[in-house]
C-alpha cells in the first residue's frame, strides 16, 4: 500500500472543485496512482448522484413576488404590535391592581376603628430646673419641680392628678384632649398645690366619671426592701395587689412588675410614696371618661327592669295558652340575664372609677454584670456554625419573602422591558451599526 499524500476530506473537496488549482492537480495525480482513494472518490461521486434522485417541483405559478408596498407596511405593523403589546400589558397591570388593591385595603391598610375617648398624659423626669421653667413660660401644663405638693388635700378628695417634675404629651395630635386634663391639673398647680382629688372633684362637679390608670417605672437600690415598702403603701391606702410578677437572672438586674388598685382618693398620696422609693424613669397617667358608658348602661338597665316588671305583670294576669305563658317566662329569664349582665358591667365601671390602677415596674439599679467564663474554641466554632446556618436560613427566607412581596411586580416590569427590547432590538442594533 502506497503513501497517501492527500487528506480524506480533500477528496470530497476535489470532487466539488473546492481545492486550489495546484492542489486539484496534485490530488488528480494521486488518484491516478492510488486505487483506494480513487475508489473512495467513486463512492462519494455515486452518493452525490444518488442524492440527485430527490428532485422537487419548480415553484408554482401561483407564487408571485410580494407587493413592495406590503413590505413597506410592515414597520407600521411592528409599531402597531408594540402598541398592542403595551396596551395588553397595561390592561393586565390594571387588572392585577384591580384585584389586589381592594384586598390590600381590606387587610393591611384598613382604618382602625376610633378608640374610646381617652386622655393621656405622659409624665417624664425633668431634664433640669431650667427646662422646667422654660416649659412653664410656654404655658405648658406643668407641675412644680420637686414633686411634693405643698398642700395635700384631704384624703377624702376623690381623684388626684399626678405630681411630677414635668410632663409632656405623647401625641401632638391629641394635645387638645390632653390639654383638658392638663388644665385641670394646672388649676391646682396655680394654687401651688397639685393636689390629689382636684381632677376627680372637677369631674364629679361636672357629673363625669373618670377611670384613672398610672404606669410608672422606678429604679431602686435595695430591691427587696423597696418592694416590701411598696406593698405596705398600697395596703395602708386600702388598696390591693391585682397582679405581681418578678424576674431575676444572673446577668440582669432584678425586676418586679405589679398591678395595684388603690382608691382614687388615695391615688396621689400613694404616688407620692411610690416616687420616694427610688428614681422614677417613667410615669404616665391615662384617664378614660366612662360617663357616657355609665349613662347608657343605666338607661338600658332601667328599660330592662321596666320590661321585666311588665312581663311579670303579664304573667300574673295570665289568660292565654300554656305555650304563651312559657314564652313569657322565657322572656323574663332572658331579660333577667341581661339585667344581671348590665349590673355586672356597671359594677365593673364603678370599680374602675373608684379604684385607680397603677402598673408599676420596680427595677434594681444596674450592677456590673458577672463576666461569664471564657468560651472555648470548640464552642465558638460551634456557635459560628449555628450562627452561619441561621444566617443562611434567614437569607433564604428573606429571599422567599422578597419574591413573595415583590415577585409579581418584578415580573411585570421585566416582562415590559423584555417586550420593549424585543420590539426595539433590531432598530437599535442597526442604528449602532451605522
Amino acid at each position: 500500500m502506497g503513501k497517501h499524500f492527500v487528506e480524506a476530506e480533500e477528496l470530497q473537496a476535489y470532487l466539488d472543485r473546492e481545492l486550489a488549482p495546484a492542489r486539484q492537480v496534485e490530488v488528480e495525480r494521486h488518484l491516478a496512482e492510488c486505487r483506494e482513494c480513487a475508489a473512495l472518490v467513486a463512492d462519494l461521486k455515486r452518493v452525490s448522484e444518488t442524492l440527485q434522485q430527490w428532485q422537487v417541483e419548480r415553484a408554482p405559478a401561483s407564487l408571485r413576488p410580494p407587493a413592495i408596498e406590503a413590505g413597506e407596511a410592515a414597520p407600521r405593523w411592528r409599531w402597531k404590535r408594540l402598541t398592542l403589546a403595551l396596551a395588553g400589558t397595561g390592561a393586565v397591570a390594571l387588572l392585577a391592581l384591580w384585584i389586589t388593591v381592594p384586598d390590600l385595603l381590606k387587610s393591611g391598610l384598613q382604618i382602625e376603628p376610633m378608640p374610646e375617648p381617652k386622655r393621656e398624659v405622659i409624665i417624664m423626669p425633668a431634664p433640669g430646673p431650667a427646662a422646667s421653667e422654660g416649659r412653664a413660660e410656654e404655658q405648658e401644663p406643668q407641675f412644680a419641680a420637686g414633686g411634693a405638693p405643698t398642700k395635700t388635700p384631704p384624703a377624702a378628695e376623690p381623684a388626684p392628678p399626678p405630681a411630677s417634675p414635668a410632663y409632656e404629651s405623647r401625641n401632638e395630635g391629641r394635645r387638645s384632649r390632653e390639654r383638658v386634663v392638663a388644665e385641670e391639673a394646672l388649676s391646682s398647680a396655680d394654687q401651688a398645690a397639685p393636689t390629689a382629688g382636684v381632677m376627680a372633684d372637677k369631674a364629679a362637679t361636672a357629673g363625669r366619671m373618670i377611670a384613672y390608670q398610672v404606669t410608672m417605672t422606678v429604679e431602686v437600690k435595695e430591691f427587696e426592701a423597696k418592694k416590701q415598702r411598696l406593698l405596705a403603701v398600697v395596703e395602708e391606702a386600702g388598696g390591693y395587689v391585682a397582679q405581681a410578677e418578678s424576674a431575676e437572672t444572673p446577668t440582669q438586674p432584678q425586676r418586679a412588675v405589679l398591678t395595684v388598685r388603690v382608691p382614687v382618693a388615695q391615688l396621689n398620696p400613694v404616688l407620692e410614696e411610690l416616687r420616694k422609693l427610688g428614681r422614677v424613669t417613667r410615669e404616665q397617667l391615662t384617664t378614660e371618661e366612662v360617663t357616657e358608658q355609665v349613662v347608657d348602661l343605666e338607661a338600658r338597665l332601667r328599660n330592662a327592669r321596666a320590661s321585666e316588671q311588665r312581663l311579670i305583670a303579664v304573667l300574673n294576669n295570665r289568660t292565654g295558652k300554656v305555650g304563651d305563658i312559657l314564652e313569657v317566662e322565657r322572656e323574663i329569664a332572658r331579660t333577667r340575664q341581661g339585667i344581671e349582665r348590665m349590673d355586672a358591667q356597671r359594677e365593673n365601671l364603678r370599680r374602675r372609677v373608684e379604684l385607680a390602677t397603677i402598673h408599676i415596674t420596680l427595677v434594681e439599679e444596674f450592677q456590673a454584670q458577672l463576666q461569664p467564663a471564657p468560651v472555648g474554641t470548640r464552642t465558638r466554632l460551634r456557635n459560628a456554625f449555628v450562627e452561619g446556618y441561621e444566617s443562611f436560613i434567614g437569607m433564604l427566607l428573606g429571599f422567599v419573602f422578597f419574591l413573595a412581596r415583590y415577585g409579581l411586580t418584578l415580573l411585570f416590569w421585566l416582562g415590559l422591558l423584555w417586550l420593549g427590547w424585543r420590539a426595539m432590538r433590531r432598530p437599535v442594533l442597526r442604528f449602532l451599526q451605522t
Binding site: 500500500m1 503513501k3 497517501h4 499524500f5 492527500v6 487528506e7 480524506a8 476530506e9 477528496l11 470530497q12 473537496a13 466539488d16 473546492e18 486505487r35 483506494e36 482513494c37 475508489a39 473512495l40 463512492d43 462519494l44 455515486r46 452518493v47 452525490s48 444518488t50 442524492l51 440527485q52 434522485q53 430527490w54 428532485q55 422537487v56 417541483e57 419548480r58 415553484a59 408554482p60 401561483s62 407564487l63 408571485r64 413576488p65 410580494p66 413592495i68 406590503a70 413590505g71 413597506e72 410592515a74 414597520p75 442597526r430
Partner: protein, 178 residues
C-alpha cells in the same frame, strides 16, 4: 439588490424570477406541505423587501437570501415544535420513488448540522465559502462535516462501510496515511 435598495422596483422582479425556484426548492425539501412552502418562500422575499435597507454591500446577495430562508424555516419548525424534520411526503419531481424515499430517510438520519450542509451543497449548489457564511461556521468545519456526511450517506444508501474503504478514516476525518 443594490438597484432595488436604491428604489428601482423592477430590480426586485428580476431577483424574484432568478431565485424563486431555488428558494422554493430549498424550502420544499424542508416543509411537507407545498402550499406552506409557497407561503414561506413568499415570506422570504417579503422579508427581503422589508429589510432591503439593512442589506450590506459586503454580503453576497445569495448568502443573504439563504440566511433569510434558513431563519424562516427554523422559525417554522419552532412554531410547529418539530425537530427539523424532512418532509414525510417528499416532493414529486421525478426519479425512482423508492430511491427518493431511501435518500430522504438517509438524509433524515444525518445530524442536523451535516444535513444542512448537504442540502445547501448538493441541491442548492452553494460553494463551501457560501455555506460557511450562511451557517456562520468556519470553512474547515463545512469541509469536514460534508465529508463525514457523505461517508455516512454512502453507508446509509448501501455503499461500502467506511472501515472497508481501504483506508481507515479517523474520527477527525483524516486518513492514517495522509
Amino acid at each position: 439588490m443594490l438597484a432595488f435598495k436604491r428604489g428601482e422596483a423592477p430590480a426586485f422582479g428580476e431577483l424574484f424570477a432568478r431565485y424563486k425556484d431555488a428558494i422554493y426548492g430549498y424550502v420544499r425539501r424542508r416543509v411537507n406541505d407545498p402550499s406552506r412552502a409557497e407561503e414561506i418562500t413568499q415570506d422570504v422575499f417579503l422579508a427581503l423587501v422589508q429589510h432591503r435597507n439593512g442589506y450590506e454591500v459586503e454580503a453576497k446577495f445569495r448568502i443573504y437570501l439563504y440566511r433569510i430562508a434558513l431563519n424562516r424555516i427554523v422559525s417554522e419548525h419552532r412554531k410547529k415544535k418539530e425537530e427539523d424534520p424532512l418532509p414525510v411526503n417528499p416532493a414529486a419531481g421525478g426519479g425512482d420513488a423508492a430511491l427518493v424515499q431511501q435518500v430522504r430517510e438517509a438524509l433524515g438520519r444525518l445530524e442536523a448540522e451535516q444535513r444542512e450542509i448537504v442540502l445547501l451543497r448538493e441541491y442548492q449548489g452553494l460553494s463551501y465559502q457560501e455555506i460557511a457564511e450562511v451557517l456562520q461556521v468556519p470553512l474547515g468545519t463545512v469541509r469536514s462535516r460534508l465529508f463525514r456526511a457523505k461517508l455516512a450517506l454512502r453507508d446509509l444508501l448501501g455503499g461500502r462501510p467506511v472501515r472497508q474503504a481501504g483506508r481507515p478514516v479517523s474520527a477527525a476525518g483524516k486518513s492514517e496515511g495522509a
